[in-house]
């Protein structure tokens, strides 16, 4: 069953069009990630789903119901904010149960849901603390707990990990993935971090300038990008883009190669000058120039590479992508 349907959604603030003709279907139980650079409209899109912003035209359906005119609290959604947005004057218990109290649930239900959520997030020991007495990670867990207790049809996450440090970010990412498995709920997650998108999503929606660039599973998008933007946005280090004329004279298209598909080969078609080597332990990244164009190689394992040397480089067969002058992929 479809959990969320967006049909021809437009949103403009005055004369500025923020969202242009968005069409997205989200299936029940799916984990969908909206990803894109800042200012691409992904947060606005999430806010229109939540009902915090109205759409200018188009239709938002949650389940079978059109919700264009429904207030946020009646849409059956829960949202986790980047800044946590915990109520500072309420303790953890009251933060998590406020929505249920507003909905006039019975005491029994409230207690039971609170117990369930706090067990899931190991928050039992913190229920009587105030937000100011919690660490960043704990605050984020409370914010997630506040969403869980409502048993929403749709979870909305607005860059929930941006305020956490790297180690905590990875842990919380795993927790969210686990949560998705345990609850089996439909989740929509907004981020500008392609790693989060790749690791969490069942389906990624890549947005740019208020438009959907491509929709698909992480590997589909990685292996089969529809255009140069999607190709360059997903993957780290990012895909290399070189003029195709380096391979073939007179070709005006752009060649795209992922860093891991390049290897040193004395008969290779490209000649590079190494500039810098990053030893990551598991991988070695070689940053170089190829006739003035920046290029990155990702070599497996620990490799010794001389800086400033000129080497020839080959491309794994079938792993080059070509894009026309408008950035559209050519097969």
């Amino acid at each position: 069953m479809t959990a969320l349907t967006l049909t021809n959604v437009h949103k403009s603030f005055g004369t500025v069009d923020v969202l242009k003709d968005i069409n997205i279907d989200v299936e029940e139980g799916e984990f969908v990630v909206f990803v894109g650079p800042s200012g691409c409209g992904k947060s606005t899109l999430l806010r229109t789903i939540a009902g915090l912003d109205d759409v200018t035209s188009g239709e938002v359906r949650i389940g079978d119901t059109k919700v264009n005119q429904t207030p946020p609290s009646k849409r059956g959604i829960a949202m986790v904010f980047q800044s946590y947005a915990l109520y500072p004057h309420l303790n953890v218990r009251n933060n998590m149960t406020l929505a249920l109290k507003q909905a006039r649930e019975s005491k029994q239900v409230i207690e039971q849901r609170l117990a369930e959520a706090s067990r899931m997030l190991s928050l039992e020991d913190y229920l009587d603390r105030y937000p100011s007495e919690l660490s960043g990670g704990q605050r984020q867990r409370v914010a997630i707990g506040r969403a869980i207790v409502r048993h929403p049809k749709l979870f909305l996450f607005d860059e929930p990990l941006s305020n956490l440090d790297a180690a905590l970010r990875m842990n919380t990412r795993l927790e969210i993935a686990n949560l998705h498995q345990t609850l089996g709920a439909t989740m929509i997650y907004v981020t500008h971090d392609q790693t989060e998108a790749m690791t969490l999503a069942d389906k990624i929606v890549v947005l740019r300038d208020g438009r959907v660039e491509q929709v698909g599973s992480p590997m589909e998008l990685y292996n089969n990008p529809a255009n140069q933007f999607v190709a360059g946005f997903l993957g780290s280090p990012a895909m290399n883009f070189l003029p195709a004329k380096l391979l073939q004279d007179g070709d005006r298209n752009t060649l795209g190669v992922r860093p891991e598909d390049l290897f040193f080969d004395n008969d290779g078609p490209l000649e590079i000058t190494t500039q810098h080597v990053e030893h990551l332990g598991g991988d070695t990244n070689v940053i170089a120039t190829c006739q003035g164009h920046p290029i990155t190689l990702r070599l497996f394992g620990q490799q010794t590479v001389t800086v400033g040397a000129t080497r020839r480089v080959g491309i794994l067969p079938g792993r080059s992508y070509f894009f026309d002058t408008d950035g559209i992929r050519i097969n």
Binding site: L52, F81, Y84, A85, L98, Q102, S132, L134, R139, R146
Partner: protein, 279 residues
Amino acid sequence: MNSARSNPINAALMHGALILYTLIALFPVFVILINSFKSRKKIFREPLALPDAESFSLVGYQTVMKQGDFFLYFQNSFIVTVGSLTLILLLGAMAAFALSEYRFRGNMLMGLYLALGIMIPIRIGTVAILEMMVATGLVNTLWALILVYTAQGLPLAVFILSEFMRQVSDDLKNAGRIDGLSEYAIFFKLVLPLVRPAMATVAVFNMIPIWNDLWFPLILAPAEETKTLTLGSQVFIGQFVTDWNAVLSALSMAILPVLILYVIFSRQLIRGITSGAVK
């Protein structure tokens, strides 16, 4: 303070300046207080001497208690001050919330219009106000004073509070909306507790001028049963004879309530509860 950053000479100078200022500010109050306990002769002979066994006298307080209905004046002042402050804070905060939270046509203009009152002294309109009060039959009621002081305090209140409310995180308000809080609940339960220090500032700024005002009570409510403390004290000041004992005693007593209110509000000024709300 960090000992590496504090310099004893700087600290001494800073504290010296603050102590000096405190002394200057407290001196008149101190003089009023000690002289209110002295006999009339001693007030004029040695105004700075502390009351001793010989000069001690409660005659001023006795006069104040006997003449006029001093407790009624007290009560009037208190009702007017608290009533006006309540209205200023409530209405000012609501207007500020609307201006800072909602996008509507004329938002900017409305904000400017409301702020205009800061620059125009309300006393310019005294005659018109008096005419209005006569027409509505509010002359010689405490309501006349409460309404005028509310009008006088609102512009600054709206201006200060809307600035503070803009700083309250949008995410917090949106979280409230998703949790099913009404706009009123968001205002009273989320936003007001967070701008409490600003509310206290507004309250303190408004309280003292209202308590001390002589102008409007004299014009709008000079009747015996609506006299405020400041106006009531004027009976002791005559064109030819002034009963200084009584004036000083009345003033000493007038300081107390306003001091208590100030202590209540200033505690709020110091308390910051926003920490931990958002990162």
